[in-house]
């Protein structure tokens, strides 16, 4: 009992606290019905998609089995989750007179099952939407994106072209790692004397990040060719184009990566610098042995993000005539009046970016764990 006028005041008027029991029965029945409706829509959509497929023979049977299994799974799972929700709600209602706690627990379980239905329904509807979309106009849309013959014809060129993308990506990445660090260190160069250096670095970063990459690529690749800029004038044909393209991309992405490095360097607490300098280490030694090693560890995830961007942007090099995958896809597309090769080229990129993205996620999660544990 709180003392009158004490720190814990008596509540005026007294608070009425109600402990309700919710069975969620109405929503459970609604979710069961909604789930069944979604399953029906999905089944119709998949059926339409199947009709629009331009495949024959064994492939057709495989598609039939796969799509039927998908429709059946969606129906069974949605119906099961909906039924569970209703069953838990009914049980909750039945338990109210006997055991209020168990009744509430059962009501909460019903709510969980309703959420399962909601989540699965949204997913099924998105799948259904794409199935409808692709089957529109008697499969004309599907034929534009998934023409098996066109993809078949393109495949050999795809590997040839994409191999070039990978080469550009790997070489540019190595250049960017070094160039970005140089720019970042220039950007945080200390003291009054460092001001012009900092200004130059900022100007470079602002400029190359502000310029659309495609313009920079035009200017550097075509300009350096026309102007016979050394050392590129010593190279010939494809090799020349490769190195010019790679350099252009590295110059652009160096600006982005410089900002990542800078953020990493500045994220290391000044007390680390204080500790290092107090031991007699010079500024350079402090950067080299204490700050940069810690920063590099921290920036690996954002760095990989930029690399995913760099890997995709190798496709920009198609505009200056490098025979990379997008250029080759376009050649085949134009010949066949069909977009499927472009989609196939896109898939090739995705196959590389997805593992890279998951690897990045894993690193981020691991760092978060390490911080929480430390």
């Amino acid at each position: 009992m709180a003392l009158a006028g004490g720190i814990v005041e008596t509540a005026v008027p007294p608070i009425q606290r109600v402990h309700r029991i919710r069975t969620h029965l109405g929503l459970s029945i609604a979710s069961l019905l909604a789930g069944l409706a979604v399953a029906a829509v999905t089944a119709v959509a998949l059926d339409r998609f199947y009709d629009s497929l331009g495949v024959a023979g064994t492939a057709r049977t495989v598609w039939a089995i796969g799509l039927t299994a998908l429709a059946a799974t969606v129906t069974v799972v949605l119906a099961a989750c909906g039924s569970m929700a209703v069953a838990r709600s009914v049980r909750a209602a039945r338990l109210i007179p006997e055991d209020r706690v168990a009744a509430r627990a059962s009501g909460a379980a019903a709510k969980d099952w309703q959420w399962y239905v909601a989540g699965l329904s949204v997913t099924a509807l998105v799948v259904a939407f794409f199935a409808f979309f692709l089957s529109a106009n008697d499969g004309a849309v599907r034929d534009q994106y998934l023409n098996w013959d066109a993809i078949d014809e393109f495949l050999p060129f795809l590997w040839k072209g994409f191999w070039l993308n990978i080469k550009v990506f790997v070489v540019a990445e190595a250049l960017v790692l070094v160039w970005g660090l140089v720019l970042a260190l220039a950007r945080i160069f200390p003291g009054k004397a460092g001001r012009p250096v900092r200004f130059l670095a900022v100007a470079y970063i602002d400029l190359l990040r502000g310029f659309p990459a495609i313009i920079t690529i035009y200017l550097i690749v075509l300009g350096f060719q026309a102007g016979d800029v050394p050392p590129f004038d010593q190279l010939q044909g494809g090799t020349k184009l490769f190195w010019l393209s790679t350099t252009a991309l590295a110059l652009v992405y160096g600006a982005y990566v410089a900002e990542v490095y800078r953020a990493g360097l500045e994220s290391i607490h000044w007390s680390q610098t204080a500790a290092a300098r107090s031991l007699g280490l010079s500024y350079g030694q402090t950067m080299r042995y204490v700050i940069t090693p810690q920063a590099v560890r921290r920036i690996i995830p954002p760095l990989l993000n930029d690399f995913i961007g760099l890997q995709k942007d190798t496709a920009l090099l198609s505009v200056i005539g490098l025979l990379e995958v997008l250029n080759r896809a376009r050649l085949t597309s134009n010949k066949l009046f069909n977009l499927s090769p472009n989609l196939a080229a896109g898939v090739a990129f995705v196959l590389v970016t997805i593992p890279l993205a998951r690897f990045t996620d894993w690193l981020v999660a691991r760092q978060a764990r390490a911080r929480a544990g430390g």
Partner: protein
């Protein structure tokens, strides 16, 4: 001539005048404790002596050599003056051994073998040689702070600055750190420490300075400062410490 001499040291951060003319003399083998309320400038004063902060007025001399302003060999000065921080500031990407040997190798030019041997000897003295290959995050706060002390000692400083080195520690870990300081005092290491551990200050120091609002209000032998403070502000400060049960 005292080993460390501060004359009218002045320091401001913007409009905030942290040190307003500090005069302080520390003789060789002295252990001087700085006490005073939070924000009175204890830490800033230590950081100025190590030239981690530039002073705005006055002079600092170490062994007669100018240690402030433009005419000072910063890296040389810092080799003579070690500092241990409240938050340890170990390098998290290096093992204990690498933490201790980095400066001796890169600044003093010792070989890895020489530096390792000396570091292991020092670590053995504080009972942490078994942890030499561990990273700092595997160590308790008390162990980390002991390593930080050894890291400073590995440079063989002639003056050791200790900046509230037990303030970030759990109470039961304080004694293991203070014991090292006690040993160093017995061995004659010249030390200047900012601390809130009043009974430790009374026990270990040869001189106690009460710092408030950027000046040293009162200084004297520990028994006089704690037993018979003459300055009003010192009295009020100590009264509050006693009320909090810390003395």
């Amino acid at each position: 001539m005292a080993f460390l001499e501060l004359d009218g040291v002045y320091k401001q951060f913007g409009a905030n005048h942290v040190l307003r003319g500090v005069d302080l003399h520390v003789d060789e083998h002295d252990v001087v404790c700085l006490i005073g309320p939070s924000g009175c400038g204890k830490s800033t004063l230590l950081r100025c002596i190590n030239a981690l902060e530039e002073i705005d007025g006055g002079t600092i001399r170490i062994d007669g050599e100018q240690a402030s302003g433009r005419g000072v060999d910063l890296d040389g000065l810092r080799q003579e003056v070690g500092i241990v921080f409240q938050s340890f500031n170990l390098f998290p990407h290096m093992t204990v051994l690498q933490n201790v040997t980095l400066a001796p190798r890169k600044v003093l030019g010792l070989t890895r073998k020489q530096a390792d041997d000396r570091a292991l000897t020092l670590l053995a003295r504080i009972g942490l040689d078994a942890k030499a290959r561990d990273y700092p995050d595997r160590l308790s706060g008390g162990q980390q702070q002991r390593v930080a002390i050894v890291r400073a000692l590995a440079m063989h400083p002639r003056l050791l600055l200790l900046d509230e080195i037990t303030s970030a520690l759990d109470p039961e870990l304080v004694s293991e750190v203070l014991n090292i300081v006690r040993e160093l005092a017995d061995e004659g290491m010249t030390m200047l420490l900012a601390t809130h551990e009043m009974s430790f200050a009374r026990e270990v120091s040869s001189k106690v300075c009460f710092l408030d609002e950027g000046v040293i209000c009162e200084e004297g032998p520990p028994d006089q400062i704690f037993g018979d403070p003459r300055n009003d502000r010192t009295r009020i400060f100590l009264k509050r410490i006693i009320e909090a049960g810390r003395l």
